[in-house]
């Protein structure tokens, strides 16, 4: 079991436990973390699980997929550390991962 922390737009941290192999998006929606919608259920098709990865974790999280780039291109407030949570699969190296959330999912 891994611990993941989502920091809401207003600064409130939500730390949840998630199993290896689940996606970062599921870790949030299964624990009802506010601010992550996941409308498409993990198909990389709606960009409503947008997160900013804490720079300290960037290397371990890896890079965007091709379809993720297409979807992220349309989100408001895109940053260098923007990712879609459904495209990040949790493994032991991500235990303790910290991500922050945008003002809203669109």
């Amino acid at each position: 079991v891994l611990k993941i922390t989502f920091i809401a737009y207003d600064g409130t941290p939500h730390t949840v436990e998630a199993a290896c192999g689940t996606s970062l998006m599921r870790a949030a929606t299964d624990n009802r973390v506010p601010g992550i919608d996941g409308d498409c259920g993990g198909n990389c098709a709606c960009a409503t699980c947008h997160v900013y990865v804490d720079p300290a974790w960037a290397d371990r999280v890896g890079v965007r997929t091709a379809s993720e780039k297409d979807m992220l291109n349309l989100v408001p407030e895109l940053q260098d550390n923007s990712r879609l949570g459904c495209q990040i699969t949790l493994d032991p190296s991500l235990n303790g991962l910290v991500v922050t959330l945008p003002e809203s999912q669109h």
Binding site: D37, G38, D39, G41, A45, D70, M71, N73, P76, S104
Partner: protein, 416 residues
């Protein structure tokens, strides 16, 4: 079960599927098309049809949720450049409206990004109070103990107010927006009551004239937050030609009008037909948010989107050839039991209510989705505060279109 539904069921059950043509608007007028989609999902989920309507001709129907998701997320294979409805533009047609929903990247992305901030949730906070004020005003003006048309008095009125606000359009002329929205989706070939093509184009030119005046006012003024000002000053949109400006106006007017309007009506009908869900809602108003998603799934106000195949490909066991066209039937995918449990039932507290196809998926996903949800949420909050019951007192009259799935009349009565 009414006699009409029983007849439609018998007809669809007996139909030879090789003759099935789900784009025939008649199935939408009598609401029997859902029965046809149930058969197609079961028996031939990716189906080739021939329409007798010139310009529609031969097209694929994609009816299952997962296949639709695949098409919607592969914009490299399934292009939007030839339009989003099954009707082809005549070759060399210079009247072709250019709108970003009917473009592929990169131009699509540039134009979409120019307009999307106005309906981004961060901006919606600014609209919220105004939407509530107008919703209250419209609901408070409704007659009691008297039959009236919910479509005209509530759904059109509220969506038109909203559009006028987004465009900063003169409020006293707001019904022109409804008129232009209807005109732009009217199609003589599939609806005999629609205006002739020349008449339609002449009306659209009037619309362009009106909006060109607004454009000129705004381009010569400092940038403001309304959509026309955003288009007139935006890097990606300020050099649009007249047909492209008109195309994008049509997109925003239809996108903001037909859709929410029909979900506003469809919700009243769904709750009337499912009184146990209304009881659930009154017992637990916190269900309102999930109910809004369920209403949007249930209504599916745009029944399909068209794509054009860019390279030979396989979908659901069928071989599609470059140049062929297809309809992703969102209405059918939203009733697909293999992805949505109890898909044929209206359930306001279902699990994962947001997982529906009504907004589309992929890069063309509805840009105004959060605004639509907000409008519906406020409407139902204010309905609950005021009315014990909205009684539907006549058969709904449905729009003669296989693209816009909606109502032209819904007679209701509210007790004093």
């Amino acid at each position: 079960v009414s006699a009409q539904i029983a007849t439609a069921r018998a007809r669809v059950a007996a139909l030879d599927l090789s003759q099935a043509n789900p784009a025939d608007p008649q199935g939408f007028v009598d609401d029997s098309v859902g029965l046809l989609f149930a058969r197609l999902r079961r028996e031939d989920p990716v189906h080739l049809s021939h329409s007798p309507v010139p310009g529609i001709d031969t097209y694929w129907s994609v009816t299952r949720y997962q296949d639709i998701m695949r098409v919607d997320t592969r914009h490299d294979i399934f292009s939007s450049e030839n339009g989003i409805t099954l009707m082809d533009f005549p070759p060399g047609d210079d009247q072709k409206l250019r709108m970003f929903i009917a473009m592929d990247p990169p131009k699509h992305d540039e134009q979409r990004k120019a307009v999307s901030p106005i309906v981004a949730p961060a901006n919606l906070k600014n609209w919220q109070e105004l939407i509530r004020e107008r919703t209250c005003m419209v609901l408070d003006s409704l007659p009691r103990n008297e039959t009236f048309d919910w479509v005209d008095r509530v759904s059109i009125e509220l969506t038109t107010y909203m559009l006028a606000t987004l465009f900063d359009f003169p409020l006293e002329d707001r019904r022109l927006l409804t008129y232009w929205s209807d005109i732009s989706t009217a199609n003589k070939l599939t609806n005999p009551d629609a205006p002739e093509p020349e008449v339609r184009m002449a009306e659209l030119r009037k619309m362009l004239g009106y909006f060109t005046r607004l454009w000129n006012e705004r381009v010569n003024a400092p940038p403001r937050s309304d959509l026309i000002s955003i288009l007139a000053h935006g890097e990606a949109t300020r050099h649009m030609g007249p047909l492209e400006y008109m195309g994008n106006l049509v997109l925003l007017i239809v996108g903001g009008n037909d859709t929410t309007r029909n979900s506003m009506t469809g919700g009243v009908l769904a709750l009337h037909e499912n009184p146990q869900e209304m009881q659930k809602l009154r017992g637990n108003p916190a269900l309102l948010e999930s109910m809004v998603s369920e209403i949007i799934r249930w209504q599916t106000p745009l029944a399909y989107m068209r794509r054009t195949v860019m390279a030979d490909t396989e979908l659901g066991g069928k071989q599609m050839k470059k140049g062929e066209k297809l309809a992703m039937w969102y209405l059918s995918g939203n009733r697909d039991e293999s992805t949505i449990a109890d898909a044929d039932r209206f359930i306001i507290d279902r699990a994962n209510p947001r997982q529906h196809l009504s907004f589309g998926f992929g890069i063309h996903r509805c840009v105004g989705n959060r605004l639509a949800e907000l409008q519906l949420k406020i409407l139902w909050e204010e309905i609950l505060r005021r009315f014990d019951n909205i009684e539907v007192v006549g058969e709904p009259v449905r729009v003669c279109s296989s693209f816009v799935r909606g109502f032209s009349r819904l007679l209701v009565r509210i007790a004093a």
